[in-house]
């Protein structure tokens, strides 16, 4: 019921089995009627990334499973998170408390231990010691960036250049997973390809991202951006160069950015080849369904990669327009190979700063 999207669009096969509706599940909601869920966001909505994606998962869960849902922003001050969790645990009426991202792990573990009766799901995290009342999932950013890397490299091939670029928000592990996966994917296509990279220094400074991209675009045709709201600046820069008669392209992240810009800024949208996306809404909804069916492996942390349909890239009209059929076929083929295990992208999770440094230096122009 959760996979409302056309599975064909995602390229891979959906792992979601046809799900029973909430009413038919083996679980009885605490209030006896409908499922009562709350999502505690460790930050603020509007990140255009996992917070927003998880928030839309809640809408999906509400419409597909008829659950009562609520989303709470806990803000950026970490010290406020614990009291919020405790407020909701003490309330006692929630069947599940959802949360998202690694940053909340410490708090989650502490609260889970203090409230053993309460069940929690972290929809996108790496956790080592998962308490028995917690279930964690992780979308492999490295693998979706692997796809982006392949797309970028193929596009570079088509343009006859040997360099692609990356603009990140901050030089932090979460962002570097994108970079490393991207480099890995690009080198999978062309081992000699060069990858320029830079960091904006903020997820909320699109103007600065634009400055970065304007410089990088001088000798780079394609830029993959993982910089939250700042990433918009990269598209703007691509538009500016293209307007001058020097076509430049971008790859977006987190949501299908071409489609979301299509109405407000068609020129920018038409330069976004694709976007790498976490399937958070789908797999979160799936997880809640599994919960209803009693199928959640509590106390574990599951990785959701290409194989599990945890991540994907956007295949929209612009993708078809900007990338040749041949290249697209190539990407699909390699995608299947990853699923079948013939190709294994680098495991970027928990990579040390030194390893990251080594890989990105090696690929630097």
């Amino acid at each position: 019921a959760c996979s409302t999207r056309d599975p064909a669009q995602t390229g891979g096969t959906s792992s979601a089995t046809p799900a029973p509706t909430a009413q038919t599940g083996s679980y009885t909601p605490k209030n006896g009627e409908s499922l009562n869920l709350v999502l505690l966001v460790p930050g603020l909505l509007g990140d255009k990334s996992f917070f927003d994606a998880t928030n839309s998962a809640m809408d999906l869960i509400q419409s597909e499973l008829g659950a009562q849902v609520k989303t709470v922003e806990m803000g950026t001050d970490q010290t406020k998170w614990y009291p919020t969790f405790v407020d909701y645990c003490e309330d006692g009426s929630y069947d599940l408390i959802l949360t998202v991202s690694d940053s909340v792990n410490d708090t989650l573990i502490q609260v889970a231990e203090e409230f053993p009766e309460q069940l929690f799901i972290n929809v996108d995290a790496t956790m080592t010691d998962v308490p028995d009342n917690v279930y964690a999932m992780l979308a492999k950013m490295g693998e979706m960036s692997f796809l982006s890397g392949m797309v970028a490299a193929k596009k570079a091939e088509e343009l006859g250049v040997n360099q692609i670029g990356f603009v990140g928000g901050l030089d932090i592990p979460g962002i570097n997973e994108f970079l490393i996966g991207y480099i890995d994917g690009a080198q999978h296509v062309n081992p000699d390809i060069k990858v320029a990279y830079s960091y904006v220094g903020s997820f909320t400074d699109p103007s600065k991202a634009k400055e970065n991209a304007l410089i990088m675009y001088q000798d780079t045709q394609i830029i993959y951006t993982a910089a939250g709201a700042s990433g918009l600046g990269v598209f703007d820069a691509a538009k500016e160069f293209t307007a001058k008669g020097e076509p430049r392209f971008a790859i977006g992240v987190d949501t299908d950015q071409a489609m979301s810009l299509k109405d407000s800024d068609p020129e920018a949208a038409s330069l976004i080849i694709t976007s790498s996306i976490k399937n958070i809404p789908q797999y979160t909804c799936d997880a809640v369904e599994r919960f209803l069916n009693g199928e959640i492996p509590w106390g574990t942390n599951e990785m959701l990669g290409l194989k599990e349909n945890g991540v994907t890239i956007a295949k929209n009209e612009f993708y078809e327009k900007l990338l040749s059929q041949e290249s697209r076929d190539y990407v699909d083929a390699e995608w299947q190979k990853v699923i079948s295990g013939e190709v294994t992208p680098l495991d970027t999770v928990g990579m040390s700063t030194e390893e990251v440094e080594q890989i990105r230096q090696a690929a630097k122009p």
Partner: protein
């Protein structure tokens, strides 16, 4: 190093300096006017943010960038007016008032953004207006200079015109006289019947007007949407520039440019893969070092004067 020079020694690098400097110059000129009247406006950051939002929103609603600009200016004036009302009429500490406006702006714009386009991050999903870029005839024919100076957003030109305007305002007009008199000695101004509160309110309004142009540039020139906290400290930089420029319009414009250049440089260095955390501090380091050198020089100069005076031959032999 070569790579760096390749990036820096291009017209587009110098072009980017002017673009980066634009919002800073506007806000810094606002600070010059306010400070001259003795009422430092530290709400510039917030006013820019609000103007950026209002400009985006109204241009989206009206499908006209010019109406957007007008509304952005009105919002800047309104904020400055509120600040003036409280700090001048009700005697709220001016610094506290500034902090309050900044707080109002950072929360209020996100709140309004959410109401307006159901998004707490950016307004990119809403088509909003962009102010035109201006190709200057003849100038854009000249090879390098043309590339650097022509084709900027209209607000960039306005920013540099505002420097001249502020200079003339302060040095030549009656209002400028009153601003300076009030700033230097409010009692003296009051004693000749100048309405101190009114003059300071005008100063704040002018500074709000200038800052709102800087804000409008952010969302309607620099980029074409609003995103939360998009002013990202430029108002504070402007305050630093004004202090370093000793409240003088020209000096302040120059220090703003210095800062813009350092910022453009840090962008270039960042792209070349220098450590990102440290690279982002470059503009601030440059400002800091610049300020230190400037102050040390001032200090030396005053010392030097004293020493020179000491070495002067006595009018009459000692003894």
């Amino acid at each position: 190093m070569d790579a760096l020079l390749n990036v820096i020694l291009t017209p587009s690098f110098f072009y980017s300096i002017l673009r980066v400097t634009t919002p800073i110059v506007f806000a810094a000129m606002g600070m010059v006017v306010a400070n001259t009247a003795g009422i430092p406006n530290i709400a510039l950051e917030g006013i820019m943010l609000i103007a950026a939002f209002v400009g985006m929103m109204t241009s989206a609603l009206s499908s006209s960038a010019w109406i957007g600009l007008l509304c952005a200016i009105l919002s800047g004036l309104l904020c400055a007016g509120i600040l003036a009302f409280f700090t001048l009429y009700y005697r709220t500490n001016v610094i506290l008032g500034g902090i309050a406006i900044n707080s109002l702006a950072s929360g209020g714009t996100v709140f309004a953004l959410y109401l307006f386009c159901h998004d707490k991050g950016t307004s990119a999903s809403v088509p909003s207006g962009v102010l035109p870029q201006v190709k200057i005839p003849l100038l854009d024919q000249i090879p390098v200079v043309g590339e650097i100076l022509s084709g900027h957003n209209i607000l960039t030109y306005l920013a540099f015109l505002s420097v001249i305007a502020v200079y003339i305002l302060l040095k030549r007009t009656p209002l400028g006289f009153h601003l300076r008199a009030v700033g230097e000695d409010a009692h003296a101004a009051e004693s000749v019947g100048i309405h101190v509160m009114r003059v300071q309110a005008v100063a704040l309004l002018i500074s709000g007007f200038l800052a709102s142009l800087g804000g409008a540039f952010m969302s309607m020139g620099y980029v074409s949407w609003f995103s939360r906290d998009m002013v990202a400290g430029r108002g504070w930089i402007a305050i630093a520039a004004e202090a370093m420029g000793c409240s003088h319009p020209i000096g302040t414009a120059l220090t703003s440019l210095l800062f813009g250049a350092a910022d453009a440089f840090s962008n270039a260095a960042g792209v070349l893969g220098w450590p990102a955390d440290l690279v982002r501090t470059i503009p601030y380091c440059v400002t800091l070092v610049g300020l230190i050198l400037f102050s040390v020089r001032q200090y030396r100069r005053s010392n030097h004067k004293r020493r020179k005076a000491q070495n002067q031959p006595a009018a009459k032999p000692v003894g």
